[in-house]
């Protein structure tokens, strides 16, 4: 496990940004099951969970937010390192 995987996730976009400028995407993912969202964040998916070394989420913010709202421990999800 590298440093990126150990640090807790910090979303790049606050809740308010997701719910205003990205609300259609949020509404879409909110209809998906927790399993589907987690699967979509996997490394072999088109838009995997991509995280900077300091834990900042560079891709997957909306999906991570929904998972957090559902009580999923997002820090343990597999990550792709942001280059």
């Amino acid at each position: 496990m590298n440093q990126t995987e150990r640090l807790p996730l910090r979303r790049l976009h606050p809740d308010q940004t997701v719910l205003s400028s990205n609300r259609s995407s949020h509404n879409y993912w909110a209809t998906k099951s927790t399993e589907e969202i987690i699967d979509s964040l996997a490394a072999d998916q088109p838009e995997p969970l991509m995280v900077k070394a300091d834990g900042t989420v560079m891709q997957g913010n909306t999906r991570v937010m929904i998972l957090q709202q559902r009580g999923v421990k997002v820090d343990s999800l597999p990550r792709v390192a942001f280059p």
């Binding site: 205003s20 400028s21 990205n22 259609s24 995407s25 879409y28 998916q45 088109p46």
Partner: protein, 139 residues
Amino acid sequence: MKVIAGGDLRSRMITDYAAADKPGKVLLLARLADWLTLMARGTYDSEGGVADPARLRAFNEAQNRILAQLVRLLTGDHRRYPDDVFANVLVDQFEALQLDAADVAKLVEDCTTQAKEFRRSQRQSRTSRTISAALHRTR
């Protein structure tokens, strides 16, 4: 810039985007992304820096969504937003950027016209090839 009048453009975008065929969607997304890079230059200052970083950030977010969908479309990847959802995603971005509804509507209209011309020219090319082949066979 005028704040976009959400309802009208949203319903029009959903209708037009869903009705467009693949080349039409590709053209629209490519032109939107190109146009947004141009609009984003409005955030620059005159000394090589950025006068409005928050707005530049919003432009980048919009382009990220548009180009991701464009790639999925070109690669035939079904793991993309459904058309109606993505049309709403687009309008969310336009609203966040407070883009002029008339400018967006004109761009969509131009793309629709261009896509029709593209399809017509393709049909003409196919017809010409068919006639040439027929003439060749009769010689």
